[in-house]
C-alpha cells in the first residue's frame, strides 16, 4: 500500500459567516499531523453546479476526480432547522461509483448545545444509499460561533482529544476498505 490514505474534508455549507469553516480547517490540520494520510479542503461554495438539473447529469469533473481518488470523506455539516444544507445534498448527488465502499465520518456543527447530532442522524441514510460506509464516531461541535477565536483557533482543547479518536476510527476504516476494494472480491 504505497499510496497514502487520502481523506478530503468537505465543507458542507455556503452560508455567509459559517462557523463550520473553522471546524473544517481544524479537522484539516488534525489530519495533516498524521503520517501516511493526505487531505485537502472541498468547499461546496466553490463547486459550480446548476440548479436547473441534478444528480450525475451535472457531475463536476474536478470534484468527481477528487472523490474518486479519496479513500474516505470527512463531512463538516452544520445543522440548519434540524437538517443538512440542501446544497450539500445537491453536491453529493452528483457522484455514485466514486463513493462505493469508502469510509465517511461526519462532524456536526450547531449554534446550540447538541453539536449537530440531529443533522448527523439525518444524513446517515443518505450516505448509506450512496454506498459510503459510516464510522461510529462523530464530531459534535456545539456553540460553534464561540468555539474559535478570531484567527480560527479552537478555544476548548477537549475537542483535540475527541477529534483524535474520530480520526483514528476514520483512518482505520478508510485503510481497511481500500484493502477490501482492491483485494477482496465480491463472492
Amino acid at each position: 500500500m504505497d499510496r497514502p490514505i487520502f481523506i478530503p474534508v468537505i465543507l458542507g455549507t455556503a452560508r455567509q459567516g459559517r462557523a463550520s469553516e473553522h471546524v473544517a480547517h481544524f479537522a484539516l490540520e488534525e489530519i495533516r499531523k498524521r503520517d501516511g494520510v493526505t487531505t485537502e479542503l472541498i468547499d461546496v461554495r466553490e463547486i459550480p453546479l446548476t440548479t436547473q438539473d441534478a444528480g450525475e447529469a451535472i457531475k463536476h469533473g474536478p470534484f468527481a476526480e477528487t472523490v474518486a481518488r479519496a479513500d474516505g470523506l470527512l463531512l463538516v455539516v452544520p445543522e440548519y432547522n434540524h437538517g443538512y444544507p440542501g446544497l450539500l445534498k445537491h453536491v453529493l448527488d452528483t457522484n455514485l461509483k466514486e463513493y462505493i465502499h469508502k469510509a465517511v465520518g461526519i462532524c456536526g456543527v450547531s449554534a446550540g448545545g447538541f453539536g449537530g447530532t440531529r443533522v448527523v442522524e439525518n444524513l446517515l441514510p443518505v450516505l448509506r444509499e450512496l454506498g459510503l460506509v459510516t464510522i461510529f464516531w462523530d464530531g459534535n461541535f456545539s456553540g460553534a460561533q464561540k468555539l474559535f477565536d478570531a484567527d480560527g483557533v479552537i478555544l476548548d482543547q477537549t475537542y483535540v482529544r475527541r477529534i483524535d479518536q474520530f480520526l483514528k476510527e476514520l483512518i482505520w476504516m478508510a485503510t481497511v476498505l481500500r484493502y477490501g476494494r482492491e483485494h477482496v472480491a465480491l463472492q
Partner: protein, 79 residues
Amino acid sequence: VTAVLHLIFGKENGLMAKNTMMCPKCGDPMNCHAEKVDYAGALEDPAIASSDFGGLLQEVHACQGCGNIELRVAGAHGS
C-alpha cells in the same frame, strides 16, 4: 492493518478468478468489490434491465495499482 489483512484474506484472494477487468488507466488488474442497481440506466434502455432487480445491475471495480474505479454491467462478461 494491511499486513494483517493480507494474512487473513491472502494477498491474491479472489483476483484473476474470472473475467478480471484491466484498468484502462494503468493496465493493472481490477477487483470487483460491489454490485449496485442502476435504475436510471434501466430507464434509458429497459431491454437491459434485470427483471430480478428492476434496474441495471452494475459491477464496481477498483484498481490495485492506481485506485481507479470503473463500472461494468454484471453478467455481460461471464461474471
